[in-house]
Amino acid sequence: MPDPTFLFAQSLSGLTAAMFLFLIASGLSLIFGVLGVLNFAHGSFYMLGAYVAYQLVQVLGRDPAAFWWAALGAACAIAVLGGLVERLLLRHLYAKDVLYQLLFTYALILVLSDAAKVVWGTGQLSIARPPELAGATRVLGTLVPHYELFVLLLGPAIALGFWLLLHRTRAGRFVRAAALDREMLGALGVNVSRLYTSVFVLGSFLAGLGGALIAPAKAIVPGMDVEIIVEAFIVVVIGGLGSFWGTFLGAVIYGQVLSFGILIFPRFSIFSVFALMAVVLILRPWGLLGRPLKT
């Protein structure tokens, strides 16, 4: 029996990973739920968010709040980029087969990852933790960095904010309605096309924010786009594509399975996550908390 401190540390690290993943996956899930597009480029937006935040931190220099401004700026920049992509390109593919949408977003991964290499090179970049979160606290015998605690609190906070937006505002009601029946919503006089753009922008904002926030915890490297998209993809499939709480649950499960899977099958922890995803797809293709799609 491993000692409880170790188990706690393990589950905490899984939970932190889950909160980051939730940030990314919630945008992916929202876009799928409303637009019906599985956006592979979501990972690229996340990566660009990290790079842009790095750049902004360089520019802002010694400003004590540099990191926070940079994170916000990066998220906004990525939101604009997402808006442009949706407005200029993606919208012309809605009427086409799923395959074209998938390949379009895949093409974006290729283009954006090389563009990032051109601008920022192939080396590792990093951002220092903001000074107010630089320390660490001992919790139940485990040393937990403050930044990790911040992320642990931020995840549920964003989830709550997001939930309020979707369930307690007029715009949120439109978004939920669009996910259920876009024709009917259009017939009722809502500008569905603008709604789609807004949702894509919001999703991209979350991706950019996720990238910026993970930058102090992990190195910024080329290839982080493809890595995260696979993870986010597993999370939303497990939780249910388009389901808000499903994504949260999926992220938590993913984090725990990964961090405890390492203990049980040291070499096959990544395998256990894929296997979980396959089982969910077989038994409940629409995910644990999702709703079956109309065809």
């Binding site: 019906g36 599985l38 390109l89 012309h92 593919l93 086409k96 087969d97 799923v98 395959l99 074209y100 998938l102 390949l103 379009f104 895949y106 093409a107 974006l108 991964i109 290729l110 283009v111 990852s113 090389d114 563009a115 290499k117 051109v118 493809v226 696979v230 993809f233 597993i234 499939v237 070499r267 096959f268 990544i270 395998f271 894929f274 296997a275 995803m277 396959a278 797809l281 077989i282 293709p285 629409w286 799609l293 065809t295």
Partner: protein, 323 residues
């Protein structure tokens, strides 16, 4: 289609392909082998994509399993190519049977996702199972098949080992194309097209949609496995990259680039993409950027692929000629 079949394009194509080693360039043979093998991979995918209307995002799994099967048998067990090559198809087909059984129960995007999930499982296993597959490092030094008897023949006897392997590849790929062509031309092929056009209706007229889809899935997997078996030998090694999901999307791009509405469309796509890759990577390291841009232009401007665009152009010319 029948009117055009008078010119034996297939035979001409095979003859042209067989003449490549006589150009004497190691480089040409290298590219041609790559093209021939990936053409088979892409055409096998198109049995699902173009003919049955199923978007598989995990076709690389069967390619990779084929590559590992032939590679392991030839390198570790010393099994001759004559047995190791068909084994790739059989094993990949069996795997496709298991995975396909679950996949065909899902529709559209969920089908794509489950194929992707299964492929990633296979990738994770190959990536981590060091004892069998060599794990992350892969399995280098797969031997060439024993083609010593070719050296005793006139004309081809002078050629290099890689040329001999290329000739073998062309013959085998041509054979596979012939078989696949028979498949899509058969009543079974027509059933697949019916399913693509309207699965509900197909079900209604008494077609057991899932069963036929599964058969298509198994066949596509088996032929992808054969392509993989050849590729491992050509590549002088088998690596887990063969199975990663980006590989699956590469082959999808080939099929779309060439045109998934045509039997040889994906083969044309493989040819164009690989030749382009060779040309462009000699100028710049940013091949993915170029590939992504090509793909975006293609999706918007030529959704029918290159062969589709050529076909449309040809028809327009014919109409102009008649007017």
């Amino acid at each position: 289609m029948s009117a055009r079949a008078r010119v034996p394009w297939g035979l001409l194509g095979v003859l042209a392909a067989l003449s490549v080693p006589f150009l004497g360039s190691r480089y040409y043979t290298f590219v041609a082998t790559d093209v021939a093998i990936l053409a088979l991979f892409a055409v096998s995918l198109n049995l699902l994509l173009g003919y049955t209307g199923l978007v598989s995002f995990g076709h690389a799994a069967y390619f990779g399993v084929g590559a590992y099967t032939t590679g392991l048998l030839m390198k570790k067990a010393g099994v001759p190519f004559v047995l190791a090559f068909p084994a790739a198809g059989v094993l990949a087909g069996l795997l496709a049977l298991v995975f396909g059984f679950f996949c065909v129960r899902l529709t559209k995007i969920y089908f794509a996702m489950l194929t992707l999930a299964f492929a990633q499982i296979v990738w994770a296993i190959c990536f981590k199972w060091n004892d069998l597959t060599g794990g992350e490092q892969g399995m280098p030094e797969i031997p060439y098949p024993d083609l010593a008897w070719l050296e005793r023949l006139p004309l081809v006897g002078e050629l290099r080992t890689s040329d001999h392997f290329y000739l073998l590849t062309v013959v085998l790929v041509a054979l596979c194309f012939w078989l696949l062509r028979r498949v899509v031309g058969s009543p079974f092929g027509r059933i697949l097209t019916t399913i693509r056009e309207n699965p509900e209706r197909a079900e209604f007229i008494g077609v057991h949609v899932r069963r036929w889809e599964l058969l298509a899935f198994v066949l596509a997997g088996a032929f992808a496995g054969l392509a993989g078996g050849l590729f491992g030998i050509f590549n002088r090694g088998v690596f887990p990259d063969f199975i990663y999901w980006t590989k699956s999307s590469e082959v999808l791009i080939m099929a779309i680039l060439g045109g998934m509405g045509y039997f040889y469309g994906p083969a044309v796509g493989a040819l164009v993409l690989l030749v382009l890759n060779q040309q462009i990577t000699s100028y710049t390291e940013y091949w993915p950027f170029v590939l992504g841009s090509i793909l975006i232009v293609l999706l918007f401007a030529f959704p029918g692929g290159l062969v589709g665009a050529l076909d449309a152009g040809r028809r327009r010319l014919l109409r102009l000629g008649r007017a």
